[in-house]
């Protein structure tokens, strides 16, 4: 039998046999197998993992993975009118440059000395988001908006010592499912509906659900349907009158133009930083923010890392570190607030670069650009016979289109649009039975006038 060729892998320097021998001698054992002596035979895996043969050379690996990716069609190729929690936005080149830096990409959990850079970058992320949200406390990002909302609700439960949250108005089904699971069995989740005419949360229904056991009212503005509610203060006042907190989910890109929740009575704001310089990645690049006033009763309920600024022994140096670390599960295990761990820090750094680049004027212009384009698209679609825009309330980047009168299902329409290289709006039929035949469209700055016209033309032909 020919002697087995040693397995030498470029990622494993000490796979070289003579190095292994030298190290085994230093340890004082004969073979690597001896090092596993504590694992009893009955626990040993006797078989072989049946994995495909590997691509040991980088160029073969690249060819293989690229051939898989080739089966995807990206939003660079087709016009994307999909939103609902992830949207196709422009990512400035400098954002990509920074997040690909080895120093950030491959760092983890060093001290604020040799890892001062990430502490400062994330402190700046918190600070920039604080300006956007007009709040003095923002967390190091958590997993996504759904987690941020869930934690905000649990925070409200602890602050008020009450067991129930009312989710008012339209909310993404994904997010609702996450909140339900995260709250169960500690908090009860009650739903309050929306007004079928305006698309805004139904105020009277909400009012009827408020009581002394409600910890928080949670609503989104703009909502899942894209609608902008002008009654934020009224809603917050209703919650406060019952001793409940007001928690508002918000698209941060809307805040160049729209009032942040803090300015209409919200106690906690939350949302996702994907639109702030993060590529979509099939819905995989998400990061949740939570923001509050700088009050001890709020700060002490955050589970997340909160980076604070300080000074050092040497004049002129900024230092950073963990604020109120003792609240976290890192310090207190199950006695800490919920739990903390690896989440979405690099997306936070991306958002910091993004907001630093845009500045106040850029953000305002981008909000406005999206607003104008979405309005224009909605108007153009409403011109098509049988196609209506649901809901009378104004909208930001998303809006609901009603195709019921066309006699075609959204699925049929979207299949036809696909043939014209358009990703049509998200079908709401399954999620909201009353909106059967309706789709949620999203328009960002990436959509061109030409694509809007093409969509209109295509829809006219499909439903005509």
């Amino acid at each position: 039998m020919p002697k087995k060729k040693p397995f030498i892998h470029p990622y494993i320097p000490n796979s070289v046999p003579h190095v292994q021998r030298e190290m085994l001698t230093a340890i004082g054992v004969e073979s690597i197998d001896d090092l596993y002596e504590d694992i009893p035979p009955e626990l040993r895996f006797q078989g072989e993992m049946k994995l495909p043969p590997p691509f040991l050379s980088e160029q073969d690996l690249k060819r293989h993975v690229m051939s898989l990716l080739q089966k995807n069609i990206s939003c660079e190729e087709y016009a994307c009118f999909l939103g609902g929690g992830s949207a196709y936005h422009y990512v400035p080149a400098i954002v990509d440059e920074i997040v690909h830096r080895s120093e950030f990409l491959t760092a983890y959990a060093g001290e604020p000395y040799e890892d001062k850079g990430r502490f400062q970058a994330l402190f700046e992320y918190q600070s920039l988001m604080g300006e956007l949200l007009d709040f003095d406390v923002v967390n190091v990002p958590t997993y996504d908006w759904s987690q941020a909302a869930s934690t905000a609700i649990r925070m409200a439960g602890r602050i008020t010592k009450r067991p129930k949250v009312v989710l008012a108005g339209p909310i993404a089904p994904d997010r609702l499912a996450v909140i339900r699971n995260y709250c169960q069995p500690v908090m009860e989740v009650a739903l309050s509906g929306y007004d079928p005419t305006t698309g805004l949360l139904a105020l009277e229904e909400l009012q009827s659900q408020l009581s002394s056991d409600v910890a928080a009212v949670y609503f989104e503005n703009p909502s899942y349907f894209g609608t902008i509610d002008h009654r934020g203060q009224e809603i917050a006042d209703l919650a406060h009158a019952q001793g409940a907190l007001c928690v508002v989910g918000v698209d941060p890109l809307s805040l160049g133009l729209l009032k942040p929740p803090s300015q209409y009575g919200a106690d906690i704001a939350c949302g996702d930083i994907q639109p702030l310089g993060n590529h979509m990645y099939f819905g995989g690049a998400l990061g949740g923010f939570i923001a509050t006033r700088d009050e001890e009763k709020f700060v002490m309920e955050y589970p997340s890392r909160l980076f604070g600024i300080s000074r050092t022994a040497v004049e002129g140096e900024w230092g950073f570190g963990d604020v109120a670390y003792s609240r976290t599960s890192f310090d207190k295990r199950e006695k800490g607030k919920e739990f903390v761990g690896t989440a979405a820090a690099l997306y936070g750094i991306a958002a910091a670069v993004f907001l630093s680049l845009l500045g106040p004027q850029g953000l305002k212009e981008l909000s406005q650009h999206i607003l104008q384009k979405a309005q224009f698209t909605a108007q153009k679609l409403a011109e098509i016979p049988g196609v209506k825009i649901c809901f009378s309330a104004p909208h930001f980047k998303e809006f609901v289109v009603d195709f019921k009168e066309t006699g075609k299902t959204v699925a049929e329409i979207n299949q036809a649009l696909l043939r014209q290289k358009i990703f049509g709006g998200k079908d709401l039929s399954g999620e909201f039975p009353e909106l059967s035949g309706c789709a949620l469209f999203c328009v960002t700055e990436m959509i061109t006038l030409e694509q809007i016209k093409k969509l209109r033309q295509a829809l006219s032909e499909i439903v005509g």
Partner: protein, 518 residues
């Protein structure tokens, strides 16, 4: 200068130190970092400025007080901050035990930079994301082999998130069997990650923590005492954060099963046992692996991360939706899971991380994964044999003569002798371009530090790191002040910790800092 010869590998290192401003201090009114395109004239003619339809009370009166900084200065700012950070690509990152700081291949970054990965919307028609779905599907198959369990989801955002998800499944399982109220206790061990306790507690469980016996192993008698009809499940690591493999783990899972509980395996410490021992053989019902640890994806300063969460057949209907299935022609999302806990994250999971882990596994194969484990264990025991010879350091606990992928050590002797703490030594290590992390709280092992060399570093690099530890241990005796005032050649000097626990002084944003300075 005998020392210098002895410590010939030590570098005359100094980290980049820019004393970089806070971004707000760079603001110059009127500067722009990037310009936003105006909408096309036809759009403007049709809808005007778009503001007319917005209720006046919802219009933001003052623009957000973001800094105004030209593009190159923004770039320079964040590049400088990056240089003030010590990524694993640059150091010999073995001092961050439990975190598996291995090489993150650059080719995988190239792969995920394809628009065919980054410009995919989660709601695209399935026919347009077949490549992405195939990766989810194949990863499921891979992890069945790696663990022996039957079905995997990739929706979880990270390890702690997977623990919360396991706890959710355990809760739902007992609920469906009518025992939801009764079974309200999760058992873990003190040398399992803090999140094994904390993330389970989020799901309303009371936590019972098993301590170790004098040998360092989790105490089986204590487990027996903790078990009762209230037991919902067990969530533990193995090897534990000490690097000691619990050879009695099957007795643990068996005992929990006998009282009707489920067993969840936190496989954050899997890097030394790939292909050697699996969740299946040890009797676990659920397990998860951290993609950003064992499977080669970068840690990104603390995320994005990812987890492969698997279960045995009877728990498959409880997994979060959707799973990815294949009908012989196409891959599709399967929402048909009757007892599903619902969702733990919007959409499908951290796709960029999943894609990189897929590429990493495909670069290794079965033989490669096993070689990863074997070399990780070799490296670890090599370090153990060397640290045992550093005066003042030792590895506590007699169990586990050899350790698996990491070791929790103690500087207790050195601290007693010199007054230098593990924290001081960690900061002195920064002067040589290294991280050294103490350990998770509580410090069961006094003055702890945890080393996990992984498979990624050459012997000569391990020697370099060891030399720094040895040098500092000697220095602690010779010149303890030098160690206690470290770092001297890092980015900043000793930080004033006093504001962080004082509500009057802490500042979590720049605006809060400015207010509190007044």
């Amino acid at each position: 200068m005998a020392d210098q010869k002895k410590f010939s590998r030590l570098r005359n290192f100094h980290q980049a130190k820019w004393d970089e401003e806070i971004i707000f201090e760079l603001s110059q009114e009127g500067e722009r970092g990037i310009l936003i395109p105006e909408v096309e004239p036809e759009i403007k003619e049709t809808v005007g400025d778009g503001l007319a339809v917005i209720p006046p009370q919802m219009i933001r009166e003052e623009k957000p007080n973001l800094p105004e900084v030209a593009q190159m200065r923004v770039l320079k700012h964040f590049l400088r901050l990056s240089q003030e950070n010590l990524g694993a690509d640059l150091n010999i990152d073995i001092g961050q035990g439990t975190c598996t700081m291995k090489y993150n291949p650059k080719i995988n970054e190239v792969l995920v930079s394809s628009p065919k990965a980054l410009a995919l919307h989660p709601h695209q028609d399935e026919s347009t994301v077949q490549g992405a779905l195939e990766i989810f599907y194949k990863m499921d198959l891979f992890f069945r082999e790696i663990s022996g369990l039957d079905r995997f989801t990739f929706q979880c955002s990270a390890g702690s998130h997977a623990i919360m998800t396991m706890a959710s499944i355990i809760r739902k399982y007992h609920q469906e069997r009518g025992e939801g109220d009764q079974r309200d206790e999760i058992i873990t061990t003190i040398f399992s990650h803090p999140s094994d306790a904390a993330a389970a507690a989020v799901k309303g469980f009371k936590i019972k923590t098993i301590y170790h016996d004098e040998t360092g192993l989790p105490d089986l008698e204590s487990l027996f005492q903790a078990l009762s009809p209230r037991t919902a499940g067990l969530i533990i690591t193995n090897p534990e954060d000490t690097g000691i493999f619990n050879p009695q783990v099957a007795k643990f899972t068996q005992a929990v099963h006998e009282v009707g509980g489920l067993c969840g395996y936190d496989q954050a410490n899997a890097n030394g046992i790939l292909g050697i021992t699996r969740a299946r053989e040890a009797g676990f019902d659920l397990c998860f692996f951290n993609l950003h640890k064992t499977f080669g994806t970068p840690h990104g300063c603390g995320g994005p991360a990812g987890a492969a969460l698997g279960v045995v057949k009877k728990l498959e209907p409880y997994l979060p939706v959707p799973l990815v299935d294949y009908d012989g022609e196409k891959y599709y999302f399967n929402y048909d899971l009757p007892q599903t806990i619902g969702k733990v994250r919007s959409f499908h999971g951290p796709f960029s991380v999943i894609l990189k882990a897929y590429a990493w596994i495909m670069s290794m194969g079965a033989e490669g994964l096993k070689e990863v484990a074997r070399v990780a264990v070799l490296n670890n025991n090599y370090i153990l044999s060397k640290i045992a010879k550093i005066k003042g350091a030792k590895s506590p606990f007699p169990a586990g003569k050899h350790r698996i992928e990491q070791v929790r050590y103690t500087w207790e002797d050195l601290c007693r002798e010199t007054g230098v703490s593990t924290f001081d030594i960690a900061l002195r290590m920064a002067d040589f371009g290294f991280h050294l992390w103490s350990s998770h709280h509580p410090f069961i092992v006094p003055e702890p530090f945890t080393i996990e060399p992984t498979e990624s570093y050459a012997k000569r690099e391990l020697d370099e790191y060891l030399e720094a530890l040895e040098f500092i241990a000697e220095e602690a005796r010779r010149d303890p002040e030098k160690v206690k005032t470290a770092p001297h050649r890092s980015v900043v000097h000793r930080i004033d910790q006093s504001p962080y626990d004082d509500p009057q002084k802490w500042a979590i944003t720049w605006r809060a800092y400015l207010k509190k300075q007044k």
